[in-house]
Symmetry: D4
Subunit: 161 residues, 8 copies
Amino acid sequence: MSAIVGVVMGSDSDWPVMSDAVEALAEFDVEVEVDVVSAHRMPQEMIAYGEQAAGRGLRVIIAGAGGAAHLPGMLAAVTPLPVIGVPVPLRHLDGMDSLLSIVQMPSGVPVATVSVGGARNAGLLAARILGAGADDGAAQLREKMGQFQQGLRETAQAKGA
Amino acid sequence: MSAIVGVVMGSDSDWPVMSDAVEALAEFDVEVEVDVVSAHRMPQEMIAYGEQAAGRGLRVIIAGAGGAAHLPGMLAAVTPLPVIGVPVPLRHLDGMDSLLSIVQMPSGVPVATVSVGGARNAGLLAARILGAGADDGAAQLREKMGQFQQGLRETAQAKGA
Amino acid sequence: MSAIVGVVMGSDSDWPVMSDAVEALAEFDVEVEVDVVSAHRMPQEMIAYGEQAAGRGLRVIIAGAGGAAHLPGMLAAVTPLPVIGVPVPLRHLDGMDSLLSIVQMPSGVPVATVSVGGARNAGLLAARILGAGADDGAAQLREKMGQFQQGLRETAQAKGA
Amino acid sequence: MSAIVGVVMGSDSDWPVMSDAVEALAEFDVEVEVDVVSAHRMPQEMIAYGEQAAGRGLRVIIAGAGGAAHLPGMLAAVTPLPVIGVPVPLRHLDGMDSLLSIVQMPSGVPVATVSVGGARNAGLLAARILGAGADDGAAQLREKMGQFQQGLRETAQAKGA
Amino acid sequence: MSAIVGVVMGSDSDWPVMSDAVEALAEFDVEVEVDVVSAHRMPQEMIAYGEQAAGRGLRVIIAGAGGAAHLPGMLAAVTPLPVIGVPVPLRHLDGMDSLLSIVQMPSGVPVATVSVGGARNAGLLAARILGAGADDGAAQLREKMGQFQQGLRETAQAKGA
Amino acid sequence: MSAIVGVVMGSDSDWPVMSDAVEALAEFDVEVEVDVVSAHRMPQEMIAYGEQAAGRGLRVIIAGAGGAAHLPGMLAAVTPLPVIGVPVPLRHLDGMDSLLSIVQMPSGVPVATVSVGGARNAGLLAARILGAGADDGAAQLREKMGQFQQGLRETAQAKGA
Amino acid sequence: MSAIVGVVMGSDSDWPVMSDAVEALAEFDVEVEVDVVSAHRMPQEMIAYGEQAAGRGLRVIIAGAGGAAHLPGMLAAVTPLPVIGVPVPLRHLDGMDSLLSIVQMPSGVPVATVSVGGARNAGLLAARILGAGADDGAAQLREKMGQFQQGLRETAQAKGA
Amino acid sequence: MSAIVGVVMGSDSDWPVMSDAVEALAEFDVEVEVDVVSAHRMPQEMIAYGEQAAGRGLRVIIAGAGGAAHLPGMLAAVTPLPVIGVPVPLRHLDGMDSLLSIVQMPSGVPVATVSVGGARNAGLLAARILGAGADDGAAQLREKMGQFQQGLRETAQAKGA
């Protein structure tokens, strides 16, 4: 089975953050592909990646970037797929620049933004999105998400008294 | 056909912002239901709304709230569906409190956050999510989104020289 | 004697911060119960905790949480008791997200917010609240708080010349 | 019956904000006194106000101030009573200065802070605090707060579909 | 003579801000072309604009955008020309999002950022850049800039005593 | 000769920051007294300190505090002397809370605020203030400040090429 | 009698803010001179103004500026006199840029910063500084400041009950 | 060949940041001179540096400074050359003060601002500016910049799959 979620990042230095997204999707047995696609250093390839994503069978894109983080928004501009943006915190400003650069998209081109450094949640959001479909595979994923949430609950309860 | 996207808001004073989401989904012929569901004033009903959403046939939830905006995150806690959060700006702090209250969710429970006041983008993101499915309806929506993006381009080009 | 202050937190990782509240209340011989009650991972139990708090004899709730910190506000929504919120600082944004998520509550549902990481003050505030009652126990607590403040003064003076 | 809640503000220009606290307490039939007590323009009187508050029968103090808002914290330093702080927004900085000046109190001297401009919630918090007592009057107030919350719920529900 | 400075903006709603850049360059008799080139609505054309800019004879690009403002950075990624970014303030956040999205570019791809709404300064910076050349035209521009600064001084002095 | 500058701080934990003020004044042979005077833990003594400062021969007060930093402003309220405020950075929020709590004083009661952690500059500012007098001692201090500035210049130049 | 306080501003558009400083000093019968002295538009004259200030008999300088507000700090660099900085709020960022540009001075060159738009307090601070001298005129000013503060108190008290 | 880019900084403690600018220009074989020129400690020399820069053959100035960072703006005020400002982050506030002090210049005097700590980009921007000229040297630099960007792309691609 080929990848249905593409996880991309602006730089390989984002990997320690972004690997959480891949791991979360692995827990849901979702096939993932990972790539470095820099909006600023390889803009043409980035555009091509976005334009071809749906045709290659991807159904969700997760894009992480830091600072003036343009990757999620630019991909959202060239694909009809849902794009999830992960603000990667850099050395200064604690990710506030990354967050605003990703979330404050203009009308017409949405990016589904998660928390600063929240790549695990990006993976889980992708699983929810795939589980929102009308087909059987979606229903199975949705059920799996319900079980995952039940697991969260049990772990949290176990930590209580 | 019954609603597949639920648009909820913490207060009816959020409607002037949130109506943009409904309008965007109408452009994509997506069936929508609208409700006031306050996390703080009717918490039990809010929980019930979230718990029953998937079973009632909803596939995406769009939730808008301002200030200490807990509605999107609380709904995400009780549904396996993707939840889109719209930070509604209030009189003070320009929506920064709403944004951080929605986007900074803990690991395990993602909210797909859009820009401050970005309800139109929330609607478009819901359409993208519905278009990410594996079935024919999704493919049609995805194509429609491509046409919509083509329309954005043409309008923008017409404004250029 | 059973607990009259409930100290809850969204995650056991909040304990190093929140333990200060418990310690402060111990100095005032106030009976406390401690629990992990996550708004996002165990929402139904969280709602139940709040709904039952007054009936179980609790008179004040102290709730600590970080990031999109919904626990204090959600508890305040389902109990008539005073709820004290402690913004727990996370790795990014220095607790500003936690602070705004807790303090910016909508009209109708107040949370008594203390400083970022200020769990000791949350405990002292609970003692003040318990000391605001009309009964003898309250009068004793109020006097004890006066002595505590006198102690603060003497310690501070001893540090001066 | 004499006042049991003191509502004070740094300047009479804070009254349009602070009157909401008085109104909220009137809904709960709580006897209130109102005064202008400026930390910076009449510091000795401010100190005296705080020192005498408990002896005069006050059980909660609500203090509103803007900018470098020192009134709530200074009162908390000279009374064992719970002090609720209301950050009043001024012309610049949108109340962020008021909020931080009130909420970031040092260990030992808590202020129960509410949202920027949130005087109504300050009144409701005072009612909750008075309702946390062990006597009958407290129990009545607590029940009244439950009814109030039920009213919030019904109003919110009526706004839904 | 053909244009040597390209002034572009993400939306025609940016024109009231961006027209100041054009006006400033007119004062220096620099030939300018103006266009709407949206990074998000017409990404391929935007890339093409940047790639062709140097070849078409442009020597400086001024790009204005608001919110998650990607236009200046994306153009800088596809041209070797200096790109000046103008953060256009939108309805919320006072241009802070625009500023951070433009100025916080990653290493390798600089954008020369001016103040929020500072399009006039963008024009003047372009004139300074053109005046930094080694040829005669540059020397003339540089001298003109000196005269302009002399004019600023005289106007300011006239306002003094 | 008795002290003419009083250096006070809210807590002895502020000493590592505040000692720079004392050291700077020692370089100008200005007699200094140092004390811990907490606005929140010993408010009556703090008020007394301010009220008596001028009578005791102090001519400038330097006050450092962190978080909800009320010491400089409260002293300014009870003395006609110039009060210099030093925002001491605490563990969270990087001193922004301290800065706003000190600088945003209401009309009528000024505090001369220096940078976050800028105690050395507070000392130098006190020296400038003492040098602004009409007497001979002031003239000498003013000249000394001129020499000090000359020294800064020479040190800086020596670091250049 | 010649002026002993110089009030300068970067632009005549700052006058509506800065006139409050002049008015406050008039209440204390302090002789003032007013000028537009732009750090950026007439830098040489600005430097000359600062260098000559003490020699011309000025004893305090009040400087107001907005945005990247360099005037107060640059004057402080070329005079041994105390310089009071007034952050003038501009159209965007609510004076936060002005405040940080003025208050965050490097070690060695202090600026006595007042609140955003706080020109009246700048005038009062100048009066306090002049009152800190060892001569008779200073003693008179100090006494006058005490009376002024008494007036503030009486006005505030009159507003109370 | 003599230097055509001047790299200056307010303090030698800025060198670890600013050396990146020098290194970047060395990669483009651009002749550079480096100096410590403090706006606040040696203002006259700083003014002289700026006034003489163009006459000495400099064509671009890169200026780095932290906190109330006045160096770039003051140099821009006394030279017709393009000035690039590098916000150097200090111990507190993460460079936000430096950024605003540099970028928010008033109309008439632009500074080309790069990211917090972005000295390498300042060097690259200087190279782009020098490459914007009409002469042969500029054309060569422009081509070199194209090759540099090609190198960025290849390095980034090599990091991808």
